[in-house]
């Protein structure tokens, strides 16, 4: 197969305040014509830096390509002058960035922005450029291109903007398209559309794509070949099915195991302990050794070379060395680790479904915000659900559907516009005496989304955790206070020595643990977790989820788990409510919801989740939710939540209700 791009032993370093950070440490790979190579890795693994250095977009200083070659059509891009590079950027190799909100110029019309790159590289008249631009807009699926041509970026939605960015990137028929997390900032349904668009464009234009992502589901969907990066190195590379079905490197096993699979029931996620090493002082040997419970002596001493598994599949792990093969123990460990995933498929765990007493009741809750004198934003518009003691209630929805607002309203950060929230039959909103407020504050706690802004940088970890105790006067003496802090730190899997440190010394996952310890300090009964894992890497997400599950078992906590990641919600929740535009459109037990979704929105949401399974992904059909069509079908009929089956509620009209019922009875 013809190679369009070949990278040989690339090294990139950054000179920072803390010293030289070796972000990329000897990366070699090639890209075949017309294929999609996915580079996967956690944050800080060097995947973005690698892709940016291909176009020499690394800010210099502090960044620098210290060694290596980037061969493109016989030229070494690493050695070209800035001027020569400019003619390659956009024309031969182009790039799509993560955030469509910032990658377009807000003061220029869409049409002009695309025309600019057309004119720059394909010297033609203005008229020709305009025609080409309209063609491009049509190609990336933007309707009415003539009308859209003169609009500004703020008039486009996030997904549409990403389409415009793609149109700009492909305007000169590049041979290589680098997509740096192009769908991370988008909702799942939009993500599915963009992935489809990229695939169809690739077919039409025959370009090769380097796709950078941390989401293995997306990889399974789009990639022909996969390169897994860890600590600035490629540790495994191969065809998608090779890497997904026969992973060789322990890190790849861990990464695949840490993803919950919505088709299975799992008791505990496979986790990778610890956090990635800091690249200012990369460890000797296999960088992953310190996090690998089955590491061998040699992993700590020598760096593994790339071992060949098949013609297309290579991995850098000592496990593939012939001596390691001889060691029966090592072989066995490898087997058990690889099989642990498969073994879980057979295990069917039945979740307890016995309903306890109602802990929280939400009745017709509305939360409006005034944006200015005439406009009202209806963040929550008539929300009703109950949460039972000891269960985990999942609340899912896409960005802007009001799920975070719901969490904040329930805990009393906002005073609801209308409706009622009853906690143990007491209204959360009504005026209470000081003691009652304190009691309520103690029983409902919250875990926040952003591990960086949720901890006060000026306080020690001990002071952060003990804040609730100080406010409620729970600790009698200084000694008692510290003992409780130590106990909590150990409960959430941190060390007691960490008590006197400051938040900035911890990684994202560790910070989230501190946030959990703070919530636990006041012995709450009900915890609202507002996207607690969405800012974390896959392997760290699994650690936090397992911790939450463990705490629930030990302390009998009730959770409201708010998230946009449907796979994780399915994994942790007993019941799930799907939110759309400030309302719950479907509510059911998690298995029921995933197996028999009824509302068209739920169906489209579920079908849009990319699964870490290439075979499944390639044959998968997406469903689209057409709100206009649904509304026109409904005409003026009354819409409300109706119980179609025991515990399965759908927002529907009388007619749809009968349809759903017959569907369900037919299925059973």
């Amino acid at each position: 197969m013809e190679r369009v791009l070949e990278v040989k032993d690339l090294h990139v370093s950054f000179n920072t305040y803390a010293g030289e950070v070796k972000a990329v440490r000897g990366v070699s790979f090639h890209l075949n014509k017309g294929e999609t190579l996915a580079i996967v890795g956690e944050s800080g693994s060097g995947k973005s830096v690698t892709s940016k250095s291909l176009l020499r977009l690394i800010p210099h200083p502090p960044g620098k390509i210290t060694k290596g070659e980037i061969l493109f059509e016989g030229k070494d891009l690493a050695a070209l002058s800035e001027k020569q590079m400019q003619s390659i950027r956009g024309a031969d190799i182009s790039m799509i960035f993560q955030d469509p909100m910032t990658s377009l110029n807000p003061t220029m019309t869409i049409g002009k922005q695309i025309m600019e790159s057309v004119i720059k590289h394909q010297k033609g008249t203005k008229q020709e450029a305009k025609e080409r631009t309209l063609e491009l807009l049509e190609l990336v699926g933007i309707h009415h291109p003539e009308k859209r041509f003169d609009q500004y970026p703020h008039q486009f939605s996030g997904g549409m903007r990403q389409r415009v960015v793609i149109a700009m990137a492909i305007s000169c028929n590049p041979k290589v398209l680098i997509a740096d997390e192009p769908t991370t900032a988008l909702d799942v349904t939009i993500q599915a559309q963009i992935l489809e668009l990229l695939k169809s464009l690739q077919k039409q234009l025959g370009m090769a794509i380097i796709f950078i992502t941390h989401d293995l589901g997306v990889v399974a969907n789009i990639a022909d070949r996969v390169a897994v990066m860890y600590a600035g190195k490629i540790i495994e590379v191969g065809k998608a099915h090779e890497v997904f079905y026969e992973p060789q490197h322990p890190y790849t096993w861990g990464l695949l195991g840490a993803m919950p699979d919505i088709h299975r029931q799992e008791e505990e996620l496979v986790t990778i302990p610890g956090a990635p090493p800091h690249l200012a002082a990369p460890p000797a040997g296999d960088a992953f050794a310190a996090r690998n419970p089955n590491a061998m002596e040699i992993d700590f001493l020598l760096e593994p070379p790339m071992f060949k598994v098949s013609d297309t599949h290579y991995a850098a792990t000592w496990l593939l060395h012939e001596k390691a093969r001889k060691m029966r123990g090592a072989q066995q460990r490898k087997q058990t680790a690889a099989n642990s995933r498969k073994a879980k498929e057979n295990e069917t765990v039945i979740k307890k479904s016995g309903k306890g007493q109602k802990l929280l009741e939400v009745k017709g809750l509305k939360q409006y915000f005034k944006s200015d004198k005439h406009h009202v934003i209806k963040a929550i518009d008539g929300l009703s659900f109950d949460i039972y003691k000891g269960e985990t209630f999942g609340l899912v929805g896409e960005s802007g559907c009001g799920k975070s607002t719901t969490g904040r309203t329930l805990i009393g950060l906002y005073e609801g516009t209308a409706g009622e929230v009853l906690y143990k039959n007491e209204s959360v909103f009504k005026k209470k005496s000081g003691a009652e407020t304190q009691q309520l504050n103690r029983s409902i706690q919250m875990i926040f989304q952003d591990p960086y802004s949720s901890l006060n940088p000026r306080l020690t970890v001990a002071d952060i955790i003990a804040e609730g105790m100080d406010i409620h006067g729970l600790a009698g003496s200084r000694q008692q206070r510290m003992n409780r802090v130590y106990e909590l730190l150990e409960t959430v899997g941190l060390h007691r020595d960490h008590a006197n440190r400051y938040p900035h010394e911890f990684s994202g996952g560790q910070r989230q643990r501190i946030g959990i310890a703070r919530a636990l300090a006041v012995d709450p009964e009900f915890i609202i977790a507002d996207e607690p894992i969405s800012a974390l890497d896959v392997s760290i997400q699994a650690q936090v989820i397992n911790l939450l599950k463990k705490l629930q078992r030990e302390k009998g906590l009730t959770y409201l788990f708010i998230a946009h990641d449907l796979a994780m919600v399915k994994y942790i929740s007993d019941r799930i409510g799907v939110m759309y535009k400030g309302k719950i459109v479907e509510l059911a037990e998690s298995n029921e919801l995933y197996c028999r979704p009824l509302h068209p929105y739920t169906q489209s949401l579920l079908s849009a989740i990319p699964m870490p399974d290439p075979r499944l992904e390639q044959s998968h059909q997406r469903m689209k939710f057409d709100e206009q069509k649904l509304l026109s079908e409904r005409k003026q009929e009354e819409v409300r939540l109706r119980e179609v089956k025991d515990g399965h509620w759908v927002e529907c009209t009388e007619r749809e209700f009968r349809e759903y019922q017959s569907k369900l009875s037919g299925a059973v």
């Binding site: 920072t16 302990p273 610890g274 956090a275 310190a290 996090r291 419970p293 590491a295 061998m296 002596e297 040699i298 992993d299 700590f300 020598l302 070379p305 790339m306 071992f307 060949k308 000592w318 060395h321 012939e322 001596k323 001889k326 060691m327 123990g329 090592a330 805990i411 950060l413 407020t437 304190q438 504050n441 103690r442 409902i444 706690q445 919250m446 926040f448 989304q449 952003d450 802004s453 949720s454 901890l455 006060n456 940088p457 000026r458 804040e467 609730g468 406010i471 409620h472 941190l494 060390h495 960490h498 006197n500 440190r501 400051y502 900035h504 010394e505 911890f506 560790q510 946030g515 006041v522």
Partner: protein, 337 residues
């Protein structure tokens, strides 16, 4: 992609005995301030600024006692003497030999045997004493003004941002009115009403000076209010007092300190300017501004009268600006690693 098998011993492929703890944090525990101090020390210019300020403060405190001349002791017999310093008088080109710009040794001509290190002014007052006395008063006014700015600004900005809504709206309109009136007019009117002196100058500067601080604090608090740790504290049931003193003020402290550092040289300059145009301190009290005013009149004949006070004021301004810049970097959490 081949491996050399020779030197890889079998034992190496046994499971590792010692597992390095992945959870240990290697760097020593450091508080925010220790961390900031470390970063500050790395900035040579800022550190030099700090040292110069320390030196000037020391001189301002002890300088006037270094000889026996009072700052208001007049003696026309020793008027207009150029500077003369022991030892340095040997080096002619330095200008510390008591010879004026016409080449006459004024000390000999007037029959003075004392040394006047910075020379004397047209009334025969010792300039060394007057410069350091003036620096003392200028610094005193500047620190007082900065401190009052700090108090009013932080309180005003903090209340405005923390309570928000209507309170914020009214308070911000008030600030806009204050900013709308030219500063100098307010100051001049005030000094005309009050008797010129240290207190009235300070008051004049403070009456509009706190606005900048209030705006910065308001911006900071508004930003911090949205942070999740504030929400977390609220959900734990924290009261206003705790929220303000434990969470908001400590996190806004960096910009507050920096703003104060930049307020001080501005205040010194304003005081000098007011004194220079005759609205400031009245003789015989000296300040850097009055000294410059007096020296400027005789600049052509006796340059030493202007030189020393100008050098001191320049050094103060530069040092505080360097210090402020350094603090800005040192206290910026984004610079942390």
């Amino acid at each position: 992609m081949t491996v050399e098998n020779r030197e890889l011993a079998d034992e190496l492929f046994e499971p590792a005995q010692e597992q390095q703890s992945a959870k240990s944090i290697s760097r020593p525990a450091m508080t925010y301030w220790q961390d900031a101090w470390k970063r500050f020390l790395k900035n040579k210019a800022a550190f030099a600024g700090l040292m110069l300020i320390a030196l000037i403060i020391l001189l301002a405190v002890f300088g006037p006692y270094a000889n026996n001349h009072g700052y208001d002791e007049q003696n026309l017999a020793r008027a207009n003497l150029p500077p003369k310093v022991p030892i340095l008088e040997q080096v002619g080109w330095l200008g510390f030999d008591g010879v004026d710009n016409r080449g006459i040794d004024r000390y000999e001509a007037s029959g003075v045997t004392d040394y006047y290190w910075f020379g004397t002014d047209n009334l025969g007052r010792d300039l060394w004493t007057r410069v350091w006395h003036g620096t003392r008063i200028s610094l005193y006014i500047a620190f007082l003004a900065a401190a009052i700015d700090l108090l009013i600004g932080v309180a005003y900005g903090g209340i405005s941002a923390y309570y928000g809504g209507r309170v914020d709206n009214v308070m911000q309109r008030l600030i806009e009115i204050l900013v709308g009136i030219p500063n100098l007019i307010v100051v001049i009117l005030l000094i005309l009403v009050l008797k010129p002196g240290i207190m009235s100058i300070t008051l004049a500067m403070v009456i509009t000076g706190w606005v900048g601080m209030a705006r910065i604090v308001r911006g900071q608090i508004l930003k911090l209010k949205e942070q999740e740790f504030i929400l977390a504290s609220k959900t734990l049931g924290a009261k206003d007092k705790r929220m303000i003193w434990k969470h908001l003020i400590p996190n806004a402290l960096g910009p507050i300190i920096i703003t104060t550092m930049f307020t001080i040289p501005t205040a010194i300059f304003t005081e000098a300017f007011l004194s220079f145009i005759g609205l400031g301190l009245q003789p015989p009290v000296s300040s850097l501004g009055t000294l410059i005013n007096e020296g400027y009149k005789l600049l052509g004949i006796y340059p030493h009268m202007l030189a020393f006070s100008s050098i001191v004021i320049s050094v103060i301004m530069i040092s505080f600006n360097l210090l402020g810049d350094g603090l800005q970097d040192a206290l910026d959490p984004k610079m942390r690693k």
